[in-house]
Symmetry: C2
C-alpha cells in the first residue's frame, strides 16, 4: 500500500509537472504573439499557482529540466535559483515575481554581457574629466558590452557615435521612458559626439493595432519629449523608420545586408518568433540593427563603415544587439558597444515594467503637480510597516519601496539619498515623509520638462528629423 500510494503520488506529480511545462509553453506562446496583458497575466497566474501546487506536493520547486523522481545532480535547488528562473526579459515582456525586481546580476550572466564596475566608472571619469552620472554611480546603467573598446578609441582620438531609440506606441510617455535619453544626453555632452535616435514606428505598426499614420504621429509627438531632454540640435538626428527608409540611400542597403545574414532559426531562438508571426515582425530586427552601422547615415558619416557605435538602452533591448553584434563581422562592420540600464519600476512595484496604457502605473510627462502628488501617495508601493509603531521599531524596506527607487533615479544628491535610506531603514523616516520628498523632486522635474517641451515647435522637430550633416570633429 505504501508503495502504491507512493507511485500514485509520483503519477500525480508527473502530471502536475507536465501541466506546468505545457502552461509554461502557453505563456511563452502568448508572449511571442504579443497577446493582451490580461491574457498573459492570467496565464502567468495559472502557471505560478501550478508551481505552488507542485511545491506543496513535492516539497521542492519545479525545475524545467528535472521531472519528479529524476533529480538532476549538481543543479542548485535553492530558492535564489528559482527566483531568477522566473525572470523573463525580452523586448516585449519583462516579468519577475520578486518585489525587488529583476535579478540583474543573473541577467548579466545569462545575456553574457559585462558588469559596469568601479574600475570602468573611474575610467569614464578619467577619459571625460567629468564626474560620472548618478545613473552610473548608482548602478542604474549596470551592464555593458565593449565599453572599454569605445574608451580606447576615444582616448586615441578615434571617433564614435551614439545610437538610441524609442518605440512610439502611444502619445503618452512616462518618466521611465526618459531614463535612456537623460543618460544619452549626458554621454553626448561629456564625449561631444553625434547621436542618432531611431523612432521605430514601423515596429509599432507591425506589433500593435495602429495605422501607419498613427504610428508616425506618435513618433513625432514622442520626438518632442525627447528633444525636451535638451539634445544638441547640431549633433542629433532623430528619425522615423517609416520616413527615413524612403529618404536614405544607405539605410535600406544595410537592412538587406543584415537580413541576408540572419536566418529565421536565429530570430526564432533570440526573439521567440513562431511560424504564425508576420514576415514583418520576423524581418524587423534588421531594421533596429541597421543604425548600429555608420554608413546607414551617409548624410552624417559619408560612406565610412568604420565608426564605432555606442548604444545606451534598457537591457530588454539587448537581444536586438546581440544579433547585430553577431552579424557585424560577417558584413565587415565593427560591432556596436552597449550600455544597459535596469528597468524603471511601475508605481505598483518592481515586478513589472511600466505600461504606457495604464495611467496609474507611472508618472506621465503630462501629469500635473496635483496628479503627481495623488499618484505617489495613492499608488507608490511602500516598503513601510503596517503601523507607525512597527515602522519606528523595525524600519522600512528600501529594497522594495517604489518611492525610494524613484529617488535613486531622480534625486541627484548622493548624501541626501543616503540619509533618506538610513532614516527610512531605521524607522526614523515615515512613508509619508519619504513620499513627500519624492513628490517634491518629481513636481519641478516634470514641470520643467513640460516647459521645455512647450518650446519645441514643429519647425524644431522638423529640423531634428531632417537628414543632414551634423557638426562634429572626426579624424
Amino acid at each position: 500500500m505504501a508503495n502504491m500510494a507512493n507511485s500514485e503520488a509520483c503519477a500525480s506529480a508527473l502530471e502536475l509537472f507536465n501541466s506546468i511545462t505545457t502552461q509554461g509553453e502557453h505563456v511563452r506562446a502568448l508572449k511571442a504573439r504579443n497577446a493582451s496583458k490580461d491574457e498573459i497575466d492570467s496565464a502567468v497566474k495559472m502557471l505560478l499557482s501550478l508551481k505552488m501546487s507542485y511545491k506543496a506536493a513535492m516539497g521542492e520547486d519545479y525545475k524545467a529540466d528535472c521531472p519528479p523522481g529524476n533529480p538532476a545532480p549538481g543543479i542548485n535547488h535553492g530558492p535564489e535559483a528559482t527566483e531568477a528562473e522566473e525572470d523573463f526579459v525580452d523586448p516585449w515582456t519583462v516579468q519577475t515575481s520578486s518585489a525587488k525586481g529583476i535579478d540583474y546580476d543573473k541577467l548579466i550572466v545569462r545575456f553574457g554581457s559585462s558588469k559596469i564596475d568601479k574600475e570602468l566608472i573611474n575610467r569614464i571619469e578619467r577619459a571625460t574629466g567629468q564626474r560620472p552620472h548618478h545613473f552610473l554611480r548608482r548602478g542604474i546603467f549596470f551592464s555593458h558590452r565593449d565599453m572599454n573598446q569605445v574608451l580606447d578609441a576615444y582616448e586615441n582620438k578615434k571617433p564614435f557615435y551614439l545610437y538610441t531609440g524609442r518605440g512610439p506606441s502611444s502619445e503618452a510617455m512616462h518618466v521611465g521612458h526618459l531614463i535612456p535619453f537623460i543618460f544619452t544626453k549626458w554621454l553626448q555632452d561629456v564625449f561631444n559626439v553625434p547621436l542618432v535616435i531611431q523612432m521605430t514606428d514601423d515596429e509599432k505598426y507591425l506589433w500593435k493595432d495602429l495605422t501607419l499614420d498613427q504610428a508616425y504621429g506618435y513618433a513625432v509627438e514622442n520626438a518632442k519629449d525627447i528633444i525636451a531632454c535638451g539634445f544638441d540640435i547640431n549633433k542629433t538626428f532623430i528619425f522615423s523608420d517609416l520616413d527615413y527608409m524612403g529618404m536614405s540611400p544607405g539605410f535600406y542597403k544595410n537592412v538587406v545586408k543584415i537580413q541576408k545574414h540572419v536566418t529565421f532559426n536565429q530570430v526564432k531562438g533570440i526573439f521567440g518568433f513562431t511560424d504564425s508571426d508576420s514576415i514583418g515582425k520576423i524581418s524587423f530586427p534588421a531594421i533596429q540593427a541597421a543604425p548600429s552601422f555608420s554608413n546607414s547615415f551617409p548624410q552624417i558619416f559619408g560612406d565610412r563603415t568604420d565608426i564605432q557605435c555606442l548604444i545606451p538602452c534598457a537591457i530588454d533591448q539587448d537581444p536586438y544587439f546581440r544579433m547585430t553584434r553577431d552579424v557585424a563581422p560577417k558584413i565587415g562592420y565593427p560591432k556596436p558597444a552597449l550600455l544597459h540600464s535596469t528597468f524603471f519600476p511601475a508605481l505598483q512595484g518592481a515586478q513589472t515594467k511600466m505600461s504606457a496604457s495604464d495611467p496609474n502605473s507611472s508618472i506621465f510627462l503630462t501629469d500635473t503637480a496635483k496628479q503627481i502628488k495623488t499618484k505617489v501617495n495613492k499608488h507608490a508601493f511602500s516598503g513601510g510597516r503596517d503601523t507607525i509603531e512597527e515602522h519606528r521599531q523595525f524600519g522600512g524596506n528600501c529594497d522594495v519601496d517604489v518611492s525610494f527607487m524613484y529617488l535613486t533615479f531622480f534625486l541627484e544628491d548622493d548624501d541626501k539619498l543616503e540619509q533618506i535610506r538610513k532614516d527610512y531603514s531605521s524607522g526614523a523616516m515615515l512613508t509619508g515623509e519619504l513620499k513627500k520628498t519624492l513628490i517634491e523632486v518629481l513636481q519641478p522635474l516634470i514641470a520643467e520638462h513640460q516647459a521645455r517641451r512647450k518650446e519645441v515647435t514643429d519647425e524644431i522637430v522638423k529640423e531634428f528629423m531632417t537628414p543632414r550633416k551634423l557638426s562634429f570633429d572626426f579624424q
Copy 2:
C-alpha cells in the same frame, strides 16, 4: 514460397517507395536552398532513376500519395497524370520531364488562374482596335487573372497601369528574357498606359553570391536591354529596389503594410522557405508585391490607391502575386490582374528554363550572327528523324523541336509559321532547312536589338530610373 516472394517484393517496393519519397524531399530541399544547378540536376536524375526502377518493379508509376499495396481509389493513374505531377514550377525552379515542356493546362488548374481563350483575345482586339499580339494568338501568354476586370475599367475610361520586372542575376540576358518585355511594350502601346519595371537587385543579392554593388550594376546593365525594347520614356519608370527604397516616400510604407499581413506559415506554403532561410528571403515577397499598388509610386500616382495594376510575367512569378492578391483586400487595395506567359525553352529542349549562366543554353543578346548560327545548328534540340530517309517518310515532331518553338516566339507571319509546321511534320522540310529559317529570323532580330541598345546612353538610363511624373491621361 509464392507468398513469401510476394511479401519480399512488397517490402522491396515499399523500400523503393520510401527512397523515392526521401529523394523527392531532398530535391525540394536543394531547390528551396537554391543549391547549384549541377547538384539539383544530379539529385533529379537519381529521383527519376528511382522512379523508373519502381515502375519496372511494380508495373505502375510511383504516386506520392499511394504507397505500394495501398491504391488510392479514384485517383487517375494514367501516364498523363504522372507527367504533370513531375512538373515543378516556382520562382526559382522550373522542371519537367516532358520534352514538350510544362503541361500548362494542368498548371492553370493547379494555380487556379484562367485560360486566355479566344473570347478574351477577341475582347482585347475590340477594346484596343488592334490585332492581338502573336504571343496572344499563339498561346504564349496563355493564362490570366482578372483581365476582364481590367478591360471593364478600360472600356469605362478608368485608369490602369502595367507592372513587370526582372531579377538581374548577371549582365547577360538571353532572348527568352525579352518575352515579357516585348509583350509589355505592346500592351503599353495599344492601351497607352504608364508602366513601372522593378529590377529586384535586392532579391539577387539575397539569393546569390553577389555584393550589393554587383547586383545594382547588373540592374543598370539589364535596364539598358529593357529600354532597347522600345519603351516610351514618358510613360515608363524603371527602378532598382536597392535604389528606389531609399528615394520613395511610398514604397517602404506599402512593403511594411504587406509584411504585417503575411505570416511565415504563408510564405512557407507558397515559396517553400524553411527555418534555415534568411529573414531577407522570407520577407522579400512583400517587396515584389508592393509595386502592385499604385501609391508605391507617389511621384506618378500621388496618393491614389485605387488604380488597378496589370502584371504581364512568366507563370513562375505567379506565387508572388497569388500572395499579393490575397493581401490586397486586407489593406484596402485592389488586387492586381495578371497575364501569364509560358517559359521560353532552352536550346537543349523544353525540359528546363534557360540558364543565364550557361552560354550554350540559349541565344544571348550579345551573340554575334556567327554565334547564333553555330548555336542553333549545334545545340538546338531537333524533332527530326535519325536519317533523311526516315524524316522524309515519317516527318519531324514540331512539339519537341526547339527551333520550331523559337519560331513560334519570333516569326511574326502566321501563314509562314503554319506552312513550316506542315512541311516539317510531313517530312517535306528537313531539320537543316528549319534551323536555317530560325537563324535568318534571329540574326537580324538580335542585331537590331544590339543597335538599339547602343543608342541607350547612361543619361537615358538615368532618366528612365529617375522617380518622376509620367505623362498619361487618367481621370
